[in-house]
């Protein structure tokens, strides 16, 4: 039962990074995420040890079934954290997304009668429209994001009550439900793993050719092999683990897709670069010719659309849309970002860190529930972890 080791290294998929000089080395900016990774492993080991009993001689926590459940639990928060990261990195905040998740989920449930596709699309479009509206108020009307989205938090919740008349609407379409509860066929899982490994090989070979073309130092064969082998092994191990519990859960597939797209968007596009520049030094970004308003608006739009997607996953998993769905989800998303090393002042943070933060929070939730920790204590522990993570970071930074 050494699944935890496989699962831990699975995370490295996101974070292995060769320095541009060609050697294999940890990026200093990702250091905070690495300390959090160590914290995650400690948390996992603790719960694994604490859940040992006569039926589970090696512990219950990291078994295939429970681990699969844990990942399903974090999918919604993880998707929201990716969007929140972009909003925070450019120096803003979105407090309204819990209400947006509730509203978009409610609209999806109400439009089921028109078919699956209209229902799902309307959830995402509602999220996008709200994001665009709030983003416009922040970027072009210069109203602080905190205020705009605090207003949104109240207002959208009110709209839900009006639309649903306060009633809980069950999800009728079986395929809609399955989005939150089902697993992909194990064979498809292996197929996806094969495709991912092929993509990793292709990207790395292309990259090493490009380096030569630009006259940069060539990557060593060892580094190239490590860059291909480590993620590949992690992917295969992950798929094996998930297939033991029936296959990769569909929400987890969505989360992985969003995380990979988000990581790419923040790290490999001008859009991402400009977000960090705006959050890092607004004046310098403006003087460098960046259209600050447009990019802040775009970040809010991405956040809104992801809230729409998250609402689909959440509604499908719960099996119904209730008027108070999504309450406090914005705070979980913000906490995930912060635990993963995002600065609320903007300019600093990674998608990997945000997803890692969501995983830590979900692990605490899941583990404490397994141990039958009382509800009140669960809240206290999660709050303590959030403050401790940031405090630890501040302490570490003061020394350097």
């Amino acid at each position: 039962m050494r699944y935890w080791a496989c699962a831990a290294s699975c995370i490295e998929l996101f974070m292995t990074e060769t320095s541009r000089t060609g050697r294999f080395k940890i990026r200093t900016s990702a250091l905070r995420a690495y300390t959090m990774l160590v914290a995650l492993i400690v948390i996992w080991l603790f719960f694994q040890w604490a859940t040992i009993d006569q039926h589970h001689p090696y512990g219950l926590f990291l078994g295939a079934t429970n681990f699969s459940k844990l990942l399903q639990q974090m999918a919604v928060t993880g998707v929201l954290a990716v969007g929140m990261l972009m909003v925070i990195v450019c120096g803003n905040i979105d407090l309204s997304i819990g209400a947006v998740v509730g509203l978009a989920g409610g609209v999806a449930a109400l439009t089921q009668g028109r078919g699956l596709v209209p229902a799902l699309l309307s959830a995402i479009i509602i999220g996008l429209i709200i994001g665009a509206l709030q983003g416009t108020l922040v970027a072009y009307a210069n109203i602080p994001a905190f205020i705009v989205t605090l207003g949104g938090l109240e207002a959208w919740r009110g709209v839900i009550l009006k639309l649903t008349k306060g009633a809980t609407i069950p999800v009728e379409l079986p395929f809609f439900r399955s989005l939150g509860r089902d697993f992909i066929d194990p064979r498809i899982g292996f197929g996806l793993a094969g495709a991912a490994i092929a993509a990793i090989i292709w990207i790395n070979i292309r990259r090493s050719r490009a380096r030569l073309r630009h006259g940069l130092a060539a990557m060593s064969t060892g580094a190239l092999a490590a860059r291909i082998l480590i993620p590949s092994v992690v992917i295969v191990a992950f798929i094996f683990l998930m297939n033991k519990a029936g296959g990769v859960p569909i929400p987890v597939i969505f989360l992985l897709a969003v995380a990979i797209a988000g990581a790419f968007l923040t790290a490999n596009t001008t859009f991402g670069r400009y977000l960090y520049a705006i959050g890092g030094n607004r004046d310098a970004a403006r003087l460098s010719g960046i259209n600050i308003k447009r990019y802040i608006l775009a970040a809010f739009c991405v956040m809104g659309a992801l809230a729409g997607l998250a609402s689909i996953l959440h509604t499908a998993r719960v099996g119904s849309a209730s008027p108070d769905a999504g309450t406090l989800m914005e705070l979980d998303a913000i906490a995930s970002c912060v635990i993963g090393g995002t600065s609320l002042m903007g300019g600093r943070g990674t998608v990997f860190g945000a997803v890692l933060g969501a995983l830590i929070l979900a692990s605490l939730d899941n583990g404490m529930s397994l141990l039958n920790v009382e509800n009140w204590a669960q809240y206290v522990v999660k709050g303590g972890v959030l403050v401790a993570a940031v405090g630890f970071d501040m302490f570490g930074r003061r020394k350097t």
């Binding site: 000089t21 380096r211 596009t269 001008t270 670069r273 960090y276 030094n281 403006r286 003087l287 010719g289």
Partner: protein
């Protein structure tokens, strides 16, 4: 001084600063400065920007506490070592800085006693507070309502409130750093009336100003600082403006400036009728109908003292001024509309802004990301970035400008000032500009790095770039420019070619005298 007690007589100055030195990383800001101040005297402190005046006053006020500077400070003959600002205040030293330190939302009275409110059992005694402020303002003949939030007052009146605040501490030594920068002529008269009264009461004052006329009106003695050293202290009545200017600038120009051999081509940039309004004070013009041209391969210098509108002029042309402005701009002979920095960049204008930490760099990002920020779309890709293409361009720029760092992936904030400045320069060169604005390109960097930047400026001019250089360091403007225009209070007061630009003539225009016929 064993006989300390015995020497405490009328001839001991109130304040003595002896061989004060203060070093910043890479720069010696003060190098053995001595300065003294008598009871009931106004002692003027003048010098170019960067001469060390403000640093000297910060040493006096405890901003740089004791072991951070060298030399000694004596008050009434006894050495004092201030550990912080509060200790200096308790010793009777009060400083009015150039930047106002008032809280705009609080009333005049609240500001005057901020942090020192008269209290009884922790509760503020408002009657006493208002009473004391009223008396203070009446004493100064200031007609300002006590309860008005300071933000509603004009800048000039705010300055007077700042002075009232300083006086409420009943200082023995009052330092005024450019107190008239924002004042109208009548307000200056009011201020001088107050200063004369204080002098009669025995308050000793240090008066820092660029405006020599004022210095001659108000001061008893005058000390000139240059490059962190005292050039001389004399009774003001024994001096005149030309002599003071000569002391301010009297330094070997040359040596550190490379020999210029620029071939001037056609005019690539022209600005006409640039007028810029103060964003905070409607109607106040920071720049008024200024125009200039820049030719291919030419370095145009814009000289002027602090507050002359130099930076605002460039910011407005670049589309980055927050307030109202009007401008006609021609690039390559064609009129262009610039409303945002991206318009300016699109038309081939680059701008190495002043204050690299605030306007130039994202300190927590790598050198490379800083370098490629302005030209990202061109260097990397419209939407997808290409890190390898960026790295290749960045490493080339780093090599060309000789940026000292382990790699282009070093965090920009960890570099020395000179190298940071080179990163900002690289950022703009990577946009392939036709015109390059440089605003204070060597502020706060050491001599070696300065020299390298100067060499770079000349090299760029030789390759056909048009360069517009703004600097408050006169030797820099004189040493690098083929042509110089001088600004004073937002207007052009003189234009010189390299040949006829003497330090005295330029400084005279910069202090407000129109250029006399040669």
């Amino acid at each position: 001084m064993d006989l300390g007690l015995w020497t405490l007589d009328m001839t001991t100055p109130l304040l003595e600063m002896k061989s004060i030195t203060k070093t910043f990383p890479g720069v010696k800001a003060l190098d053995g400065v001595s300065f003294d101040l008598n009871l009931g005297e106004i002692h003027a402190l003048v010098g170019e920007n960067g001469a060390g005046k403000s640093t000297l006053m910060k040493v006096l006020a405890g901003v740089y506490p004791h072991p951070e500077y060298g030399g000694e400070i004596l008050i009434e003959g006894a050495e004092r070592r201030f550990a912080n600002i509060r200790e200096a205040e308790q010793a009777g030293i009060s400083v009015i800085y150039q930047e106002l330190s008032l809280v705009k939302e609080l009333s005049v009275a609240e500001n005057v006693f901020l942090g020192r409110e008269p209290r009884r059992f922790g509760v503020i005694n408002w009657e006493q507070l208002y009473g004391r402020v009223q008396k203070l303002l009446a004493d100064l003949h200031l007609e300002i309502d006590l309860r008005t939030p300071v933000g509603y007052l004009g800048i000039g009146q705010q300055q007077l409130v700042e002075i009232a605040k300083a006086l409420s501490q009943e200082p023995r030594i009052l330092v005024l750093d450019e107190p008239t920068a924002a004042l109208t002529d009548t307000e200056v008269e009011t201020l001088f009336g107050i200063l004369n009264k204080l002098r009669a009461r025995g308050v000793a004052m240090i008066y820092i100003s660029h405006k020599l006329e004022e210095v001659f009106t108000i001061s008893d003695r005058l000390t000139v600082l240059r490059d962190g050293r005292t050039v001389g202290t004399d009774a003001t009545s024994s001096l005149d403006e030309p002599r003071v200017i000569a002391r301010m600038v009297g330094r070997e120009v040359g040596q550190i400036f490379p020999e210029a051999t620029h071939e001037h081509g056609e005019v690539v940039f022209e600005a006409r009728n640039i007028t810029v309004e103060d964003p905070g004070v409607p109607g106040k013009l920071l720049v008024e109908r200024v125009g200039f041209t820049a030719r291919k391969g030419e370095v145009l210098g814009i000289a002027g003292l602090m507050g002359s509108g130099r930076s605002e002029l460039l910011m407005a042309i670049f589309g980055a001024h927050p307030g109202r402005k009007s401008a006609e701009i021609l690039v390559g002979g064609k009129p262009v509309q610039i409303n945002h920095p991206y318009d300016a960049i699109k038309h081939g204008i680059g701008f190495v802004t002043e204050d690299r930490k605030r306007y130039g760099l994202i300190l927590e990002q790598t050198i490379l990301k800083n370098m490629t920020l302005a030209g990202l779309r061109r260097l990397s890709g419209r939407f997808f970035t290409n890190e390898d293409a960026e790295a290749a361009a960045g490493q080339r720029a780093s090599r060309d400008l000789r940026i000292k760092s382990t790699s282009v992936f070093t965090i920009a904030g960890t570099l020395s000032g000179g190298n940071q400045q080179k990163v900002v320069l690289a950022k703009w060169l990577l946009t392939s500009p036709r015109v390059l604005f440089l605003d204070e390109p060597t502020r706060g960097i050491d001599v070696g790095a300065k020299q390298e930047i100067y060499a770079q400026i000349n090299k760029l001019a030789e390759t056909g770039l048009a360069i517009v250089l703004v600097s408050s360091e006169l030797p820099e403007v004189l040493g690098l420019s083929d042509r110089i225009i001088v600004l004073h209070e937002g207007r052009v007061t003189g234009e010189f070619t390299r040949k006829d630009a003497t330090p005295e003539a330029v400084m005279s225009c910069a202090t407000g005298h129109a250029r006399q016929a040669a």
